[in-house]
Symmetry: C2
Subunit: 422 residues, 2 copies
């Protein structure tokens, strides 16, 4: 089994809210060819710190992929750290320099002093071409580890992984008859509507001891993610994995809204298209999030007609013909107004189905009877098929808004499935 | 100087696209009291891997903060890893058990077997109470390092950091007269509208060599972030830092839309409130994102009246009274339609100012003369003050939508500032 470690280099990744997304890409790309990232390290632009983590990484991993620290400025010192750990001297490499010069020429520039440094490559290293930007990467073998250094710009790093690093590693693994026939397989199920502990109880006893498949649960504001991960041989794991997948589906049937990379808005979009329906949304507390998510799907203009963000009461009356006396009588956050918003939107837009949300996202706006987190979701599917459901969400303003949008899209999903089966 | 390392524990952080946000929070919280996170490690739910990284961390850092692996399931093995590294035995701790039982009782539950494991604490460790969830944390000293173990659930970890860990560490640092008098200061400026290389050129020569202040630039789809970071003593750095801050402001004046933790929607919201204005938005390609961002600000109902997501041409005519012949003549994505959307929205909503966006987010929808990324942003401020600007954005569908929303809010910001100064 090939153990890998990623090292993300850059002081901005240590403090100030900037997260390292490169390692996620690298780990997924390696997993697909059977290489397991077991450790990820993040370190600042400090040559001796980088040298230290690199030494540690080479002790515990066979493949070490560094991203970042190859830029033209003086704080970029990955090259120097690699040289100091390995003892391989840095020298200007002709092929690296020429391709950099050609790239800059395309952009109408000539290399400046900083960029000249980018052509410095440790001896014994192979240059990894950069098909997108100017900084080349490199890879080399030191002691038992293969060290690969790539730029930190995501588009450059990704192109270099796909074009050079992955084919190279896959080929090496094949030749050494290593893990390549055992890629890691990970199957994921996205659930909504059950707390994590209930998902856990429903899955109790699914996996027998000694089955080489790991069950994982991960809760976030808008889902509980269930995963099955294995790296057993394909022929062994196929049948076992399929039966476990079926087990998860059976136990969590109504709560699984998507599998794998699918999103709830994509699932809903496909259901709408399959049934040749159009949709409009009327949002109050979600502020446009439902419309934004629905239209995030390419081609959604085929079924999304419009949306109304009716924040003021006047807007609810103007845009959706919600009777002012209904708002007076029940309040803007009420089952009655949610239903009237959906009905008004459906009639105005002339669509097949309209979805509505009204609620109190907080921190202000609560009353004695209506706490922060109280949300009503309405749906009008025509032919007097109108529903409005009450929800109570916990969390801060942002979390309540996210949960309300998720609940609304899930209500739509369930309605579409029931309609399709009827 | 106190060096810290964070260790985020959880196999889901290694593969499958889930990023570790806990370490970002921990690093920022520590920086505020003068503790510098120099290393971040991510490791899976594997006891011996965790033990390995913990040993490494204790060699290179004085403060090691672990998040995750304290849950009730068998794959949670941080407790066991700490015990194996330190040799401190695990035993059920009464205060941990009682507070957990009390918390679960509030929720109408009793501890199950997995939860009982959560009351196991290494000997010599101090229990860190969890004011939000059931799993307690703990801290202990081993060799020269202070090890702190917290749950991975962000809300629980954050509450425990704020209530227990930070006060404790600040107090220890004060007593040992260490770094606490030299907190790391980081000042940030959010810019929009200039490419990173132009921001870089404008800041050339600002910082003299040997000034103990680092200038950083970081580009993302919706901004170039400029930062000044220093950990020099307060009295030394105060004047120097202030003059550099002024230098950044002078050189980038019109492009800086916010400083520090401020967001563009908060800045715009304050400008609207100060001028007692109301707003409505008319969105096509941004799909509701502008409304969502404006209403993300607590209290935004004071100035946000409504929004229209008019995806279809019919919706533009219905909701905003955009003449159908205008759409026929110029196309839905045109300067003329953007202006008409803003004007129509302003008239319908009776607000002070209306903002509109129409564009081609792709991947489909481009024509020979109108490429993906072409966006028009309109603004109607009344009294014939109508503008519509053309933009050309690069990136995928999601990036183009984000940039269009950012450009629209920034156009509004500039208009509000000019109006306030007039």
């Amino acid at each position: 089994m090939s153990i890998a470690e990623t090292i993300a280099i850059g002081s901005e990744l240590l403090v100030g809210g900037r997260s390292d997304s490169n390692s996620l890409f690298v780990a997924d790309a390696l997993a697909a060819i059977g290489i397991e990232v077991r450790f990820k390290t993040i370190v600042g632009d400090d040559q001796s710190d980088i040298a230290g983590v690199l030494t540690t990484a080479c002790r515990r991993a066979k493949i070490v992929i560094m991203t970042g620290g190859l830029g033209p400025t003086v704080d970029d010192c990955t090259r120097e750290a690699v040289a100091s750990v390995t003892g391989f001297r840095l020298a200007r490499r002709k092929e690296a320099f020429e391709s950099m010069r050609a790239r800059l020429a395309q952009w109408g520039r000539t290399p400046n002093r900083g960029q000249l440094r980018q052509a410095l490559i440790p001896s014994h290293a192979v240059v990894v071409p950069n098909p997108v930007g100017s900084a080349p990467g490199f890879m080399l073998t030191w002691r038992n580890a293969r060290m690969i250094s790539l730029p930190g710009v995501p588009s450059e790093m990704q192109a270099m992984m796909q074009q050079s690093v992955i084919p190279y590693l896959a080929d090496r693994l094949n030749r050494s008859k290593q893990a390549c026939s055992h890629p890691i397989t990970r199957v994921t199920f996205h659930t909504w509507g059950l707390p994590e502990s209930d998902v856990d109880s429903k899955l109790q006893g699914l996996i027998q001891k000694r089955t080489p498949i790991a069950l994982g649960l991960l809760a976030s504001p808008t889902e509980v993610l269930v995963s099955l991960t294995t790296r057993a041989h394909r022929s062994i794991k196929g049948a076992v994995l399929r039966s476990l997948e079926e087990g998860v589906r059976t136990r969590l049937r109504e709560w699984i809204y998507a599998e794998g990379q699918d999103t709830l808005e994509e699932v809903v979009g496909r259901l709408l298209q399959r049934q040749k329906l159009t949709i409009a949304v009327a949002e109050s507390c979600t502020g446009g999030l439902i419309g934004y998510r629905l239209t995030q799907v390419p081609g959604s203009s085929a079924y999304v007609d419009r949306g109304a963000l009716c924040y003021s009461n006047q807007a609810k009356t103007d845009m959706l013909a919600v009777p002012a006396r209904l708002i007076e009588q029940y309040g803007a956050v009420s089952r009655e107004v949610a239903a009237a918003m959906a009905t008004g939107m459906r009639a105005r837009a002339g669509v097949s189905v309209a979805l509505s949300v009204t609620g109190i996202a907080g921190p202000g706006g609560a009353t004695e009877t209506k706490p922060v987190g109280l949300v009503f979701i309405g749906l009008d599917g025509g032919n007097d098929d109108v529903t409005a459901k009450e929800f109570r969400f916990h969390g801060d303003r942002s979390v309540i808004r996210q949960r309300a949008a998720q609940a609304a899209l899930d209500l739509l999903r369930r309605w579409l499935i029931a309609r399709g089966e009827a």
